[in-house]
Symmetry: C2
Subunit: 347 residues, 2 copies
Amino acid sequence: MRTEIATLGEFGLIRHLTEGIAPVNPSTRYGIGDDAAVLAYPADKELLVTTDLLLEGVHFDLTYVPLKHLGYKAAVVNFSDIYAMNGTPRQITVSIGVSKRFSVEDMEALYAGIRLACEAYGVDIVGGDTTSSFTGLAISITCIGEAQKGRVVYRNGARETDLICVSGNLGAAYMGLQLLEREKSVLKGNADDVQPDFSGKEYILERQLKPEARRDIIRQLSEARVLPTAMMDISDGLSSELLHICTQSHCGCRVYEERLPIDYQTAVMAEELNMNVTTCALNGGEDYELLFTVPIGDRDKVDAMQNVRLIGYITKAEAGCTLVARDGGEFALKAQGWNPLQEGQAK
Amino acid sequence: MRTEIATLGEFGLIRHLTEGIAPVNPSTRYGIGDDAAVLAYPADKELLVTTDLLLEGVHFDLTYVPLKHLGYKAAVVNFSDIYAMNGTPRQITVSIGVSKRFSVEDMEALYAGIRLACEAYGVDIVGGDTTSSFTGLAISITCIGEAQKGRVVYRNGARETDLICVSGNLGAAYMGLQLLEREKSVLKGNADDVQPDFSGKEYILERQLKPEARRDIIRQLSEARVLPTAMMDISDGLSSELLHICTQSHCGCRVYEERLPIDYQTAVMAEELNMNVTTCALNGGEDYELLFTVPIGDRDKVDAMQNVRLIGYITKAEAGCTLVARDGGEFALKAQGWNPLQEGQAK
């Protein structure tokens, strides 16, 4: 079944897609339907605002990304930015540009993913806008969140001797992408339309197609009364993000290859593709894990946390940013992360 | 001179474009450079959030829109949405998707326009993001503003006997667009590259290329202690917006053709193009004037305001939405406004 978007029109489509949305946050006073959304936050909160623009062909490939997953991911990556400030996401606005290739049912699938993510994370959709596009799909999401006053964590607070921690594991989303790209090129060369076999690779696929934001880590930090000195989420790769924190904090770092958390499926896939798994973990991107630094006195507290790994420590700026390999060799960290403005980069 | 964007990369480009930006609003705690911007608003304010996605070929045509003007307009249309809630814009985030056709200098021009608008209206740029695009230019701007608690004006508060007011004049931006489209097609058919003659048409061109948001009207309303019962900005045409207010307020309206404010240049251009000027004023779009309703007891106050015209009044819903023509004939108002999701509409 395919319903043309033109049959509903802009206002009709938005009404249809946002039907039944009921806000769950007291800070949401008025959502979709006026010139602007109206929010009211108590005075003991600071507000966090982040935004993301995703374009077809650059940030996603619809030949292997289902629209519902795309919607889910588009929302979650914004939530991740709010958690990375030690905050809680509360509202999003969603703008979608859509060409005639897409039907009302396609938009329903995309919105179903966005709404699912919002339900899972307790976030209200307060603004929506659809417009036509000549060239594929464009999704712009802005997320508003809150943090307790004085508890916002920036990238610039890391200090010498602080411990460097990461949540979860690294490189899996990138390996999932490599797998999808491989299957895509296999299918292209094969008229028999063989169904790809993804068994044993579910985890890396899910990390690519349906990432989650680390709300659990923010909760654990709060419960353990640990306030990180610096934090950010890992979207462009660990190396790139570590360099951001070190540059903005005017410090250096030492991280240990043997400490990098890597899932079994990530390692198997890297082996299969004849890639260096450490490189994947350092530069893979799209992990949406949290990278944070804590004062050395908090070591026992972070050791006791679930899904958190100490990978190194902060040094003086003059010491540079160093990866200590398994064999004791030392390498300067480089930002080779995903950068869609530079050619020849890993996607 | 043309500098390729790839020479700077994503982070370099954003750093370059946002260099020297210093916030002017006390509510801006931290701007560009972290996972999210940090804002702090006092408890007596409500927050307003609006967002817009502009796509090349759909919302703008770079053959006749200079990039600096485009940047200015992209920001101002968001400010207009905040004023339309009886608020004041304070912060914007800017996401730009850009293809290789564009140079660093192009992005400088676009950003110069955005920054100029922000300076003129006292708004801080707190978030920026650029990414590559395969297909032209995409601009997504989110604006955050504030209103005094209890002073937000929605679309749904109009009541029977309220007076209907509009600021400025209508149809000029649409006539400016028609003029630009005509010159474009003339130039296409003419190899001699004749410079178009726009003398005597400066006003309608400016209304199309460099619209302003009606901050002055919001100030006047505040000074006169008039709180409109309903308000919105006119972006899709007066008819369409009146129908929004009437639908959401569960009422009808009567507006008078002879009361519609129309500039001399708009009338001349309509004549030249053999178009009905009333139709242009009703359906033209992109005026960014304010449409609002006030209790009948405020009549003297709005009469005394600069650049505000009474055009009719609110009725019971059963009376419908009616335009009373000069000759006394009555017509049902229809939304024929600009809708890029429906084909065959005026652009």
